[in-house]
């Protein structure tokens, strides 16, 4: 079984990620295994929340300061910019866009997820720091929507990422998205939004699901 897996992986491994030999400055041979050498191969740990008032206070702060990763995955991303226009003004709820996953807490999957986008979405999600939240936008993320039998999109997002809030509609209007943010805030304040830890706990299951449809992973299992 394991042998088979290796062959499988090899087939999709990008050329630059294959093991190779480079010549060092003194003429010595250096064996490079890109997947192990370039990437951290550790697995994430569960980051336990504090208990009591402290956690409540921090959760309040987290809820009031939602930094969204500016990452449009599908057609729904067209609905996000109006959120920050004067009409909807998501800023007043503490929502802001951040350009880098390192600094963001919220990943919005805006609509259908093609397989290749899923890979990027997962990588970006993994690069976000705990605690982190996922908002799924539109029917496509719930059951595939109009793409339910497409060969190239996923049907249920929560098989791949722990979703905190679904916002139904095709597409949901910005008002609905704002409502989704409100819902997320409620969950965070209640302490329910522990998707990040959930993802770590059930990592094997998530990874198995992810690998089922993404063959050319080209990276260690967890993308730090």
């Amino acid at each position: 079984m394991s042998d088979k897996k290796d062959i499988h992986e090899d087939k999709f491994l990008a050329p630059e990620n294959r093991k190779h030999v480079v010549i060092g400055p003194d003429g010595e041979e250096i064996h490079v295994d890109p997947l192990n050498d370039y990437f951290c191969t550790d697995m994430p740990k569960v980051e336990k929340p504090y208990k009591g008032v402290m956690e409540k206070f921090l959760n309040w702060a987290r809820a009031e300061s939602l930094w969204v990763l500016a990452f449009g995955t599908g057609c729904g991303s067209i609905e996000l910019p109006p959120l920050f226009s004067p009409r909807f003004d998501a800023y007043r709820f503490g929502v802001a866009m951040r350009p880098t996953p390192r600094q963001s807490g919220v990943l919005i999957i805006s609509g259908y997820l093609a397989v290749k986008t899923l890979k990027r979405a997962i990588r970006s999600y993994e690069q976000m720091q705990n605690p982190k939240y996922v908002i799924a936008l539109g029917s496509c993320t719930i059951n595939g929507g109009m793409y339910w039998d497409s060969y190239n999109t996923i049907n249920r997002l929560d098989h791949y990422l722990p979703v905190d809030v679904y916002i139904a509609g095709c597409m949901p209007r910005p008002e609905a998205v704002l409502a989704g943010f409100m819902k997320l805030k409620e969950r965070i304040k209640k302490g329910d939004a522990e998707g990040a830890n959930e993802y770590v706990e059930k990592l094997d299951w998530y990874k198995a699901n992810q690998k089922k449809i993404i063959k050319d992973w080209n990276m260690p299992d967890y993308n730090w």
């Binding site: 480079v22 010549i23 400055p25 250096i30 370039y38 990437f39 990027r120 970006s124 080209n218 730090w224």
Partner: protein, 1039 residues
């Protein structure tokens, strides 16, 4: 004592008798025969030297003139016959094998040649001179064909035809001389006091002209050059050293015949020859022909000296003899070496590297020709230039140095080829031992001559020659392993510093620079321990350089200073030349150094004008302040690489070896700064009248700072970047010195110390890195912090100091700068300086980021930390920086006291209250700043460490990449052309204007040389035309 007539007898007799012998044994007999004259003339020479002054006159056939020939042997004749006989003996030894192959004929010719030369020197009969001149010519014409071939044949033909025409002139001259004077004896003529007749002067003109033409004056010398090129080098050596010597003496002997003062014309002819042939040498690629040009040039120089004799007075002997003996020994030596390696193109002389001794001798002779100290002609040239200046012959002085510069140009280039050009020849260098003897002996003679020149020079005794002896000792000890020699050098430098300390402890300025030179020297030498093997030819030059540097500190008179300056230049040139790709850069370095040194030379000479001592203080009393100071300043600026004169620096510093770069960049450049300091002090410091010069220098410093730093920004080569940074930093120092205020000078000294500390540190650290990764290109490195953490710390400390960020010492410099700028009122220059200070951030960041941060590359995964011997000096320097940052008062206070208490800079000093420095404008307390920042930094660090103690360590590709992963480390490391946007904005300021200018100058010189030398069309008839036109022109000039 043996009568010298036996020289003739023995040589002639042997030549005749040789025919009786079979081939076997002829060589030995000839050698013995040639040894005899050496013995005779040497015994006479020492006889005269030991106090006997009575000149020996002797006659052939026991009768008096005119029925016999009158020969004379005084000390001069004895000396010249001696050198010629030595040359003859060694020349024969050298050619022994060739003669053996050729049979007796060549040996006979050789004996005749030596005999002829002897008689030429001793004879006092004009017709006799003609006869022997012809004999010598015939002998040489025969010997030329020792090397068979069409080239040789045509060269010999041209030679004979030309000499035939010349001897016709001579004979006509002699005929009319006899007609008008009735005697052919020089002495008779001189005693007879005949009235001057028009025809007589014409006759003498023809005679002297013929002798002059024999000396191959430019441009009527094509025939001679062809001979040099075509003949066997052993014969060329005889022509160049032997016949030229005799002809020069002949000229000297016959000059009194003329009633007209020939001397100015001889000088002019000499000058044209000296400059002309040295200029043409620049375009020459054939080694023997090049030696020919050089030979002709040197004769030109001797002609100048002869022509200048009245101005030179009592110094004539020293000047002439040193220049003569240098040329004599070196040229013969070089021709001999040329004959050993048998390569025509100067590029192919790289084959010399196969034999260390040959290479050594080659360099030795070249330097002898160039007149570097401690070689004899250095003393001669020094004395010559000084005397010329004393007699206000400034144009001559400039002409001589211009010619010397041209000569330097091709000789140094040649040496560079020998040292560094790729050696493509496969075959082994076959060396016959007897061919090695003569050059070796001449090398020893050069050393002896240097010793005597030093002793007979007026100022030679003031020199401290201990370092020179040490250099020689190191040459002899070169077989030892490197670490032994390294320890030896370090120990000697430490001991020397300790011995030196009491002498200069009362002069704080000198003490600071001595500290930079010596401490820096020891520290950079530590790095040398990491080199395994013998490291041949490194340590003598290191010592030479440091000897020069310390000599500058010790110098009390101009001579010592210039001597030390040249020694330092020489040592550093050899060090730079050791680098891998340094051939071009070392050449540039030497060329600029030579030019700069000559400017300094002229400056010294000008200040000597109208004065009697050579003390350094005469510069302040110079009667030509404008010229003197400007020339000296430009001379020193070539060493500090002010913009426009900087193009040699980046290459020279970047391509040098890892541990040489810090020496030349961190330490050597301070020599220029020290020179400027000395100059400015002598200009009268604060009272200096040279406002416009200082103002220009101030602007120059500011522009240099901007230019150097800006150029550094756009470099991809780490060492080149640092080198350009040095240009910029030396600009700061120049700028600060030009203030001529107390604080300005403190700034300059602070900068000197800072630059020494951080640039040595950076060059050592980067040198260590380069040593490990084996590339200079920063974009190829990256992420080395994990492999070389200590080097990283060193670079970090270095760039913080460089950028002038508090709390490190660099900030002190900036603060002083502001105060100085505001006090002096040079606001706009100051703004430029501060602008360049911020530019420094760009390259400082690029340096540390591209090398140590960013993406680690695969091929540097296994590199280790730099050798411990690189790290030790780095740590010492870091400690130095820290101490100087925290307690700047330890150094600046005494300097400030000295500057303000002396008469130099009494006004507006820096005040010290405990550890706080104050001026009228502001205040600065390095110690307290250090504490505040240190405490704060530690507190914040602790806080953050508590806050993020659990941080997960991740690897190089765990970066956010828009949901993707980086491709390879190479494509992810952002380093190449890092500041492209900056280039787009103000890159036009970094256009290589100076490089273009100097390239243009170089191209122009080459083109001029290349076009002029086309007068040597190769056609023998053209050469005859040259001779005739030349004669006519000289005639028209004279009458």
């Amino acid at each position: 004592m043996v009568n010298p007539i036996y020289i003739v007898a023995v040589l002639l007799g042997t030549a005749f008798l040789l025919g009786l012998f079979r081939k076997k044994g002829t060589g030995i007999i000839a050698l013995v025969a040639l040894a005899f004259p050496v013995f005779v003339s040497a015994s006479w020479f020492f006889h005269f030297l030991s106090g006997n002054t009575e000149v020996l006159n002797f006659f052939t056939a026991g009768a008096k003139p005119p029925f016999s020939i009158n020969l004379q042997l005084g000390i001069e004749e004895a000396l010249f016959t001696m050198v010629i006989n030595v040359l003859g003996f060694l020349g024969y030894t050298y050619l022994y094998r060739d003669f053996k192959e050729q049979g007796i004929k060549s040996t006979v010719l050789f004996l005749i040649l030596i005999m002829g030369l002897n008689v030429l020197i001793m004879s006092r009969d004009i017709f006799n001179l003609f006869v022997f001149l012809e004999i010598v010519s015939i002998a040489i014409a025969g010997l030329i064909y020792l090397k068979r071939g069409a080239d040789t044949a045509i060269a010999g033909f041209k030679y004979l035809i030309a000499l035939g025409v010349i001897s016709t002139f001579l004979l006509i001259g002699i005929a009319f001389f006899y007609l008008f004077s009735g005697t052919l004896n020089i002495d008779d003529f001189l005693n007879s006091n005949l009235p001057a007749v028009k025809g007589m002067s014409m006759a003498v003109f023809l005679i002297l002209m013929a002798i002059l033409l024999e000396l191959k004056p430019f441009p009527a010398n094509g025939w001679a050059l062809d001979v040099y090129q075509a003949a066997h080098p052993g014969i060329s050596a005889m022509i160049s050293s032997g016949t030229a010597t005799a002809s020069i003496f002949l000229l000297y002997k016959l000059l009194p015949l003329s009633s007209i003062d020939w001397l100015p014309y001889i000088s002019i002819i000499g000058a044209i020859t000296f400059i002309g042939s040295n200029l043409l040498g620049i375009a020459q690629k054939d080694s023997n022909r090049l030696l020919g040009y050089s030979s002709v040039g040197q004769i030109g120089l001797m002609l100048i000296i002869i022509g200048m004799a009245p101005q030179l007075g009592e110094h004539f002997n020293l000047i002439f003899l040193t220049v003569f003996i240098s040329h004599f020994l070196a040229k013969a030596g070089l021709f001999w070496i040329s004959g050993i390696i048998k390569k025509d193109n100067i590029r192919q002389w790289s084959v010399l590297r196969k034999n260390k001794l040959l290479l050594f001798m080659f360099g030795f002779f070249l330097l002898t020709l160039l007149g570097f100290p401690p070689f004899p002609s250095f003393y001669g040239k020094w004395q010559l230039i000084m005397e010329l200046a004393h007699g206000s012959q400034f144009i001559w002085l400039a002409l001589i140095l211009a010619g010397s510069f041209f000569e330097g140009m091709y000789l140094i280039r040649w040496f560079g080829f020998a040292m560094k050009e790729k050696d493509e020849s496969e075959e082994k260098l076959t060396i016959h031992w007897e061919k090695m003897i003569p050059p070796v002996i001449f090398t020893v003679f050069v050393m002896g001559a240097s010793y005597f020149a030093n002793n007979s020079s007026d100022y030679g005794h003031t020199l401290n020659l201990i370092p020179i002896y040490f250099v020689i000792a190191l040459f002899l000890l070169d077989f030892l392993p490197a670490f032994v020699k390294n320890s030896l050098v370090i120990a000697s430098m430490i001991i020397y510093s300790i011995l030196l300390y009491p002498d200069i402890s009362d002069d704080t300025l000198r003490l600071v620079f001595a500290g930079i030179f010596m401490i820096g020297g020891v520290l950079t030498l530590f790095a040398g321990y990491s080199v395994k093997g013998k490291r041949e030819g490194f340590f003598p030059f290191v010592v030479m350089m440091y000897a020069g540097l310390i000599g500058l500190i010790e110098a009390e008179n101009l001579f010592q200073f210039f001597f030390a300056w040249e020694i330092m230049t020489l040592g550093s040139y050899f060090l730079i030349l050791r680098g891998k790709k340094s051939i071009k850069h070392a050449f540039n370095y030497m060329l600029f150094s030579l030019g700069g040194a000559y400017l300094i030379f002229i400056g010294f000479a000008l200040s000597y004008f109208g004065q009697d001592s050579l003390d350094l203080s005469i510069i302040s009393a110079t009667t030509l302040p404008g010229w003197t100071y400007t020339l000296l300043a430009i001379g020193f600026l070539t060493k500090t690489a002010a913009i426009g004169l900087h193009i040699w620096l980046p290459g020279a510093h970047a391509e040098a070896e890892s541990d040489v770069s810090p020496m030349v960049s961190g330490i050597l450049l301070k020599a220029g700064a020290f020179g400027l300091i000395l100059l400015f002090l002598l200009m009268g410091a604060e009272q200096s009248e040279q406002h416009s010069l200082l103002y220009i220098l101030g602007w120059l410093g500011a522009i240099t700072a901007v230019g150097g730093n800006l150029l550094a920004v756009f470099q991809e080569d780490a060492k080149r970047l640092l080198a350009y940074s040095s240009v910029g930093n030396l600009g700061y120092i120049l700028f600060a010195l030009a203030f001529m205020t107390n604080v300005g000078w403190l700034t300059a000294i602070t900068y000197s110390i800072n630059h020494f500390l951080f640039k040595t540190l950076l060059f050592l650290a980067i040198g260590g890195v380069v040593m490990r990764v084996k590339t200079h290109n920063m974009y190829e490195m990256g992420g080395l912090i994990k492999k070389m953490p200590w080097s990283f710390i060193a670079v970090l400390i270095g760039i913080i100091t460089l950028a002038g960020i508090p709390p490190l010492a660099g900030y002190g410099g900036k603060w002083l700068f502001y105060n100085a700028v505001l006090t002096k009122g040079w606001y706009f220059q100051g703004a430029l300086i501060f602008f360049s200070g911020t530019i420094a951030f760009l390259y400082a960041f690029k340096l540390i980021y591209s090398v140590f941060l960013g993406q680690p590359k695969d091929k540097f995964r296994n590199v280790k930390e730099a050798p411990i011997w690189y790290l030790i000096p780095q740590f010492i320097l870091m400690i130095g920086i820290m101490v100087f940052s925290a307690r700047p008062d330890l150094i600046l206070k005494p300097i400030g006291t000295m500057l303000s208490q002396s008469n130099y800079f009494p006004t507006d000093p820096l005040n010290w209250e405990d550890v706080t420095a104050t001026t009228n404008l502001g205040y600065w307390s390095g110690y307290k700043i250090m504490i505040v920042i240190g405490v704060m930094f530690v507190v914040l660090l602790g806080w953050l460490m508590i806050m993020s103690r659990k941080a997960q360590k991740i690897k190089q590709f765990n970066i956010v990449y828009a949901g993707e992963r980086p491709f390879t480390p190479g494509t992810t490391h952002f380093s190449h052309n890092m500041f492209s946007n900056y280039y787009k904005a103000i890159g036009f300021l970094s256009w290589p204007v100076a490089t273009g200018f100097w390239n243009g100058v170089n191209l122009f010189t080459h083109n001029v040389a290349d076009n002029i030398r086309r007068i040597y069309s190769g056609n023998g008839q053209t050469y005859i035309v040259h001779i005739m036109i030349y004669t006519i022109v000289i005639y028209l000039l004279m009458f």
